[in-house]
């Protein structure tokens, strides 16, 4: 993937919504799996599948401080989402007339 391309890990509706939802929280916060599921309205199996892909990419961190999954964006995840939105804006600017 070049720097100008849309990151294929993020460029899927479910994963984009996961990333944006977690990015809404300030750094230092995390979200439980059931709350993320409630906000996104995804099935547990679907959510787990997408979270695993984001974890493998190093974008989402999953810890279990009190036995429950606590999900948050990593620094790399925030940077990737910033880069993604910047590339998206550039693409849309190219398409729309000046």
């Amino acid at each position: 993937m070049t720097n100008d391309e849309l990151d294929p890990v993020i460029h899927v509706p479910a994963r984009l919504r996961i990333m944006v939802t977690l990015a809404t929280l300030p750094e230092g916060d995390h979200l439980s799996f059931p709350r993320l599921q409630q906000i996104l309205g995804l099935t547990p199996g679907n959510l787990i599948t997408h979270l695993r892909k984001l974890e493998v990419a190093g974008y989402v961190c999953s810890a279990k401080p009190d036995g429950q999954s606590a999900l948050s964006l990593t620094h790399a995840g925030r940077a990737a989402l910033d880069r993604y939105t910047e590339n998206l804006r550039r693409l849309l600017d190219q398409v729309s007339p000046p």
């Binding site: 849309l6 899927v12 984009l16 944006v20 939802t21 929280l25 409630q38 401080p65 849309l92 398409v95």
Partner: protein, 206 residues
């Protein structure tokens, strides 16, 4: 749209905006509702107490029924606060949750000593009038100070303005005497909460 299919750029931009708005709405504590609950409790509760003491010469203190109304309304406002706050924040952990816990603890940390001081004043022989004044303005002092401090943590200008207003109302209300202080409590204290609720609602719509 399937959750697994690739997006075209404009759909992706729309999805980002929609997900951001949805998440912000879900995580936001409905502050106007909180202020309205406390405004109604304070306005009606202290207003009832004022109705029961107006015309007292000498001042004897509020009637039991009016204190009961205030207590019931405060319990209802606390229940509303817990419900509204936990509905927005459940599942969130980390720094924000720790800030929220400390903010929650600041209320008993402020009010328990206030009630103990009131007990000590009564024990030391303070008159009904003195007890009436401290009983009316004490809660506004504690609430105002907590709001001013919490506003610094969340950079919340409405909370700061409300906190300063409550401190001003407390300082001025004390000079109105035990009967007048209750009227000031109801109108300026409860009214302050209601104005803050109305302002935030207007700001959100505008």
């Amino acid at each position: 749209m399937s959750d697994d299919q690739m997006l075209d750029p404009s759909a992706a931009a729309a999805l980002i905006k929609q997900a951001q708005d949805h998440a912000r709405g879900a995580f936001a504590i409905k502050q106007p509702l909180l202020y309205a609950a406390w405004g109604v409790a304070w306005f009606i509760g202290t207003g009832a107490m004022w109705l029961s003491v107006r015309g007292q010469h000498p001042y004897n203190g509020p009637a039991g029924w009016s204190v009961a109304i205030l207590v019931v309304l405060i319990v209802a406002a606390i229940a509303a606060t817990v419900f509204i706050t936990s509905r927005a924040t459940w599942g969130i952990g980390g720094n924000s949750a720790r800030q929220g816990t400390i903010f929650g603890l600041s209320w008993p940390a402020g009010f328990i000593p206030l009630f103990l001081v009131e007990g000590a004043l009564s024990h030391a022989g303070a008159s009904a009038a003195v007890m009436g004044v401290i009983g009316a303005v004490g809660p506004l002092l504690v609430t105002g100070l907590i709001y001013v401090t919490a506003a610094a943590m969340w950079v919340d200008w409405t909370m700061l303005a409300l906190g300063i207003w409550l401190l001003v109302v407390a300082a001025a209300g004390g000079w109105a005497g035990p009967v007048g202080a209750l009227a000031v409590d109801a109108l300026a204290g409860g009214g302050g909460f209601l104005v803050a609720a109305a302002f935030l609602t207007w700001k959100k719509q505008g």
